[in-house]
């Protein structure tokens, strides 16, 4: 086949760009948002009631939308259910139709999630309503790893070991997890293929094998090991080989995560008697501090997929979810809670909230500080914690 000539390429580029241009008129934020201070986008809903309305309201609330009546909203959403869902979204000011689709197949919940995603995508954002989370479910004296839809529905136990588990971590883009399990009598790190259920030991060294974090390309895993006599940061290949020690200190290192370009591992440490967030090249090297001005005792960092933010837990009087620019700076306190995990949209985070001596999971929209608890398994009074959002 002949390579297209330059003018043809130009035309192709213009054609390809034009739908993007058309969209740019309604892109709400290309710029970095201001955490916790951004106003929600007002939408209205007609035609849907009951479960369908609840699902849509939840999906959009945790992505920075607020529901109001039709004469105050920027976007008008409407739906009808006639066996299947028909959904519409219109810009009240420009009168532009953003979504006009009918959905078939799956469950009604799934259809509403798809509509929510289509609406959010029409605004130039990434939808998260059909994503999954993994978390730790306390079952009494023990705990299991579970996976559910991002809103807590459709929960499935993926371990049934009657043992302790901790710190599930998704392999990006794959249906697989790493987590700590005490099944063999020692806290070891397992790899768990969720499509087959097959499991392998990833790290089983003397002492404790903790806090796995998978690199964005899935090829490496950072973790905390104590095999050399103290708790330090290590990194290994995805199959458990090539384990290297990255820190050697008498201080405490915990909770590693990766920069989205895979170059850095960020973790919580203590420097000169003060807790701080740090990053270290994934191939080893000099530690650098990430400033978190305004808050104390930062821990549990998670780096946003777009690379701009690090969300973390600050241990002050209680636990606070905070966010700081990835290069460091002044931290913004968002809401009480711990162990945040970014959604793929780089604006929503899942986190654990303490309530009456147990933990419940909640989803927080970082720009607006809006948050809502996810659904819990009925009859289960145990804690839900340590969420990991599939990306």
């Amino acid at each position: 086949m002949k390579i297209p000539s330059a003018p043809l390429l130009c035309i192709a580029a213009v054609l390809a760009a034009s739908p993007l241009r058309a969209q740019q008129a309604i892109v709400i934020e290309k710029e970095r948002f201001e955490p916790g201070k951004t106003k929600p986008i007002l939408v209205s809903l007609s035609g849907l009631t009951g479960e369908a309305a609840q699902v849509l309201q939840f999906d959009l609330y945790v992505q920075g939308f607020a529901f109001t009546n039709a004469d105050a909203a920027q976007y008008l959403l409407s739906g009808s259910i006639n066996g299947n869902l028909t959904g519409r979204a219109t810009d009240r000011y420009s009168k532009a139709s953003l979504v006009a689709k009918s959905y078939s197949g799956g469950t009604l919940r799934r259809q509403v999630h798809a509509f929510a995603d289509d609406f959010v995508k029409a605004l130039g954002r990434q939808g998260i309503a059909q994503t999954k989370i993994a978390f730790k479910l306390d079952t009494g004296a023990n705990s299991e790893i579970v996976v559910s839809d991002f809103d807590g529905f459709g929960m499935q136990e993926v371990t049934k070991d009657n043992s302790l588990v901790a710190a599930p971590a998704w392999v990006p883009g794959r249906l697989a997890l790493y987590y700590t399990s005490y099944k063999l009598g020692n806290p070891d790190i397992f790899h768990h293929d969720l499509s087959t259920g097959a499991r392998k030991i990833f790290a089983r060294y003397g002492g404790s094998n903790m806090s796995p974090a998978v690199s964005p390309d899935g090829s490496k895993v950072a973790m905390i090991l104590s095999k050399d006599g103290w708790t330090d940061l290590y990194v290994g290949d995805a199959d458990g080989g090539n384990v290297r020690r990255l820190t050697r200190s008498r201080e405490d290192e915990s909770s590693p995560c990766w920069s989205p370009d895979g170059k850095w591992i960020c973790f919580a440490a203590r420097i000169n008697e003060r807790r701080a967030l740090c990053k270290i090249p994934a191939s080893g090297g000099e530690l650098q501090r990430i400033a978190t001005s305004g808050v104390l005792n930062p821990t549990e960092p998670d780096w946003s997929p777009d690379g701009k933010w690090i969300v973390f837990t600050s241990m002050m009087r209680g636990f606070e979810i905070c966010v700081v620019p990835a290069e460091g700076g002044t931290a913004t306190v968002l809401v009480s809670g711990e162990d945040p995990s970014w959604a793929p949209n780089s604006r929503t985070v899942a986190f654990a909230r303490r309530e009456g001596g147990r933990r419940v999971l909640s989803l927080l929209d970082v720009p607006t500080k809006q948050y809502k608890d996810i659904s819990r398994v009925s009859g289960n009074s145990g804690s839900n914690s340590q969420p990991s959002w599939a990306k």
Binding site: G106, T107, R109, R110, Q130, K136, A141, F153, E157, T159, L164, A166, L175, T180, S181, K183, L184, G185, P187, F190, H192, D193, L194, G197, R199, K200, I201, R204, Y205, G206, G207, S208, M210, S211, S226, K227, D228, G229, W230, T231, G241, R248, S249, R250, D252, S254, S255, I271, A276, C278, L287, Q288, R289, I290, E300, G328, E338, G357, S385, Q386
Partner: protein
């Protein structure tokens, strides 16, 4: 009941060990201590598949302090466990600290004395935390508490190959409750006596 559980473990251990020696190359990066068996690796048994169905700053100088290498898990695989022998020797810690308080050191010494008089026995130190602290922070803190006790045992003359450690973080509180009266009893290191089968 306890015996049958250990028998099962032992059989399982043999199967795993056979599988491990049969098809696994010992990874070259491991540095097991003299006298310890390499960690058992192999089949952990399946978990559940997911039914996707329809739902589908400033620089820091690193400091090398030369810690004492941990035992491989499995070094005391199948040994009998006794959690009651050293119950009164449980070591308690201050909030967010892995330093052994001077008043607690006699407990470690008492365990060291026992191990000196029972040269075949070993001990597992289990580190625990109160609920104040995030889960993974506490898991690491519990391990440091266990390691601090291990270092003290070694300082008192116990061979490090006789001391295993692990951390339960805040997952196994001794006392339920959400105030200092419970917390102070939950920040602890427990000794499990291990005797060869």
């Amino acid at each position: 009941m306890k015996v049958s559980k250990f028998a099962t473990l032992l059989v399982l251990g043999l199967i795993v060990a056979t599988a491990a020696t049969g098809c696994r190359k010992k990874p070259g990066y491991l540095t097991p201590l003299p006298g310890t068996k390499p960690g058992t690796v192999g089949d952990v048994g399946p978990g559940a598949p997911l039914d996707t169905g329809k739902t589908t700053g400033s620089d820091i100088k690193p400091e090398d302090f030369g810690g004492i290498t941990s035992n491989q898990p499995g070094a005391h695989f199948g040994w009998l466990e006794d959690a009651s022998m050293f119950k009164q020797d449980t070591v308690y810690f201050d909030f967010d600290s892995s330093a052994i308080k001077s008043g607690e050191k006699s407990k470690v010494a008492s365990v060291a004395d026992y191990l000196k008089g029972n040269t075949k026995a070993a001990v597992r130190v289990e580190g625990h935390c109160d609920e104040r602290g995030t889960e993974e922070y506490n898991r690491a803190l519990g391990e440091r508490r266990a390691l601090a006790i291990r270092e003290e045992l070694v300082r008192l003359g116990i061979d490090p190959t006789r001391v295993d450690t692990l951390s339960y973080g805040e997952d196994r509180p001794a006392v339920q409750g959400h105030d200092e009266s419970a917390w102070r009893l939950n920040r602890r290191g427990e000794f499990i006596l291990l005797t060869p089968p």
